[in-house]
Amino acid sequence: MKKFLIIYLLLGLSVVVCQNKQLLYNWEVTPQTLLLNPGSLVTSQFHAGVPLASGFHFNVGSSGVSVFDVFADDGVAINTKITTTISRLTSRDFFTVNQQLDVLTFGWLSKGFEPMYFSGGIYQELDAIAYFPKDFAILAWEGNRDYIGKAYDFNDISARLDLLTVYHFGVNKQVSKKLTAGVRLKLYSSLISVSSTRNKGAFKTTVREGSANIYEHTVTDLDVEVNTSGFISLDGLEQSQVSKKLLGRALLGGNLGLGIDAGITYQFDNELSLTASVLDLGAIFHTKDTERYRAKGDYTLEGIALVFPELVNGEPAIPYYDNLEDDIAREIPVDTLNTGYTQLRPTKINAGLHYDFGRFVGDNGGCNCKNNGTKKKRVSQAGVQYYSIFRPRGLQLAGTLYYTRRFGNTLSIKTTYTIDSYSAKNIGAGMFLNIAGVNLFLAADNLLQMSNLAKANSVSLQVGLNYILN
């Protein structure tokens, strides 16, 4: 119980709307921007990522608490701080971890009658979200003694973890002078998945006039489900065997799924453009190596009723306790199933309105005469971005204001100010360096908290190394 609480509080304590890559969205064209919007405006002829180094993203966060809230060296007893934290958090607060590693990435312009830019690759992703199970945290931390009559809601328990590899291939085409569109097909191979997101029912201890005993402990309308895939075959294996098995799953040997990304860029004029994308519209079909647990039913416990039977010699006593256990197992059976299940991917939506201004990159004066119809970059771009992701408890939203400044064709810096339901002071910055086609980018969030990450609710970092031929 304690381990559970500590892991919960520690893991979550530092990161927010995970997976929001507001710094990379619509930035300089890297393979990563194409992954965020397959309909990005592409100006390059070819790109290739350095294997395993072309893109790395890490984000960890919690919506309502920071490491500092619990582990501050302030003389206050840690138990007091945990109690305060539990009472402050709500069941809508969440902890997230998201990590992505590009294994392989490439793209090329297919010149022909209908020029199109093709891109593809493989990336590995770890994504986990756990909502704060407030009611059960109170029950575990304080017990039910001071909460007689309170309903502990099983709906509070909602968590999901996925480890997968994604094989993707997309096409990007400038449909007209103003419109660029793209789609990307994705094949998911799930290594490990565990989720428990649609639970209901409540546990309650009540005092009721006329009840048989002092309390009634009731479980009503319980329907709790935990779905796992990829775990049972790992049970009892040596570490090396586990690694081998996971590698096999990464190479399309896991539970497979299909998804699609789609996006557009609409260029109103030389200055104003609109972008939008939907990502991971798809599902994974868990058909093998699954184990699912489901508990369903109602039960009222009033203790053990003694009846003082008149036993004749040798007659066994009534097995009250065994009967009680049997009753509970009958009324709330826990089924273990090995049937398949389908799990939707957390779909994301990005959108942005972008305004380019200032002189053209490379121009020294104010002459715009070279921009005869082709998209030529200006030194500055500012805009607004929208991001949302479908999570087990609905949409999580974020809005971003940003400014991008280009210094020649060598360096580009993007700064962002992001606001969401949980943080109104997230300032991020990214740097994009281009040396003879070799591109290096680094981007990080929550710079205001960078001097002391302990106080941050969210931390994210993205780095990558690619070769892009323009």
């Binding site: 490491v67 501050a72 039910n144 309390y215 203790g303 009723a305 306790y321």
Partner: protein, 183 residues
Amino acid sequence: MEIKIYKLFFLLTYILLCGSCFEGTDFDQANDVVVTPEIELDLIYFNLEASKFYDYANNTEILVVQDTTDLDFLGGSDINDILKRADFFFEFTNSISREFNVSFDFLNEQNTSKYFMQTTVASGSEDTPVVSYFVQSLDEVQIKELTKAKKVLVTVTIPSSSQDLTGVLNLQSKTTYYLQIEQ
């Protein structure tokens, strides 16, 4: 110009990666975390009719009635390690015109008594049932013995009985378990 830009890039990268740290925190505090839930659970209950104390077939008094139940959750090293205190609360409602002696003997698997408690229940009447309370708090030393038990033997003793005796002896009970979980 380009050299300066590279320098700027790497300087900013260095600041970003190395300038960040955890300050003003003490993670050793995790060792001080103590989880102390207090859990209330029903225990046993019964409704003993006065007729239970008379053998109508042989016209003889029955002065002692007993019943027993396993309490599996009490035994085991897990609960032994974390249970620091337990308060037993018994509420008797007696509408039988006799005083009772009620005992609770916690036995291990070999039926050896590990903890014993008893109380007296005041007599009442069917018109005016009398409520008696009995509370027993067990400290850590007593808990160590209690958690060696696997079952409880409940013995209800009546000083005298008759075939005309009427009423019911009702018991309701609960236990408050004080747990302490630490590293």
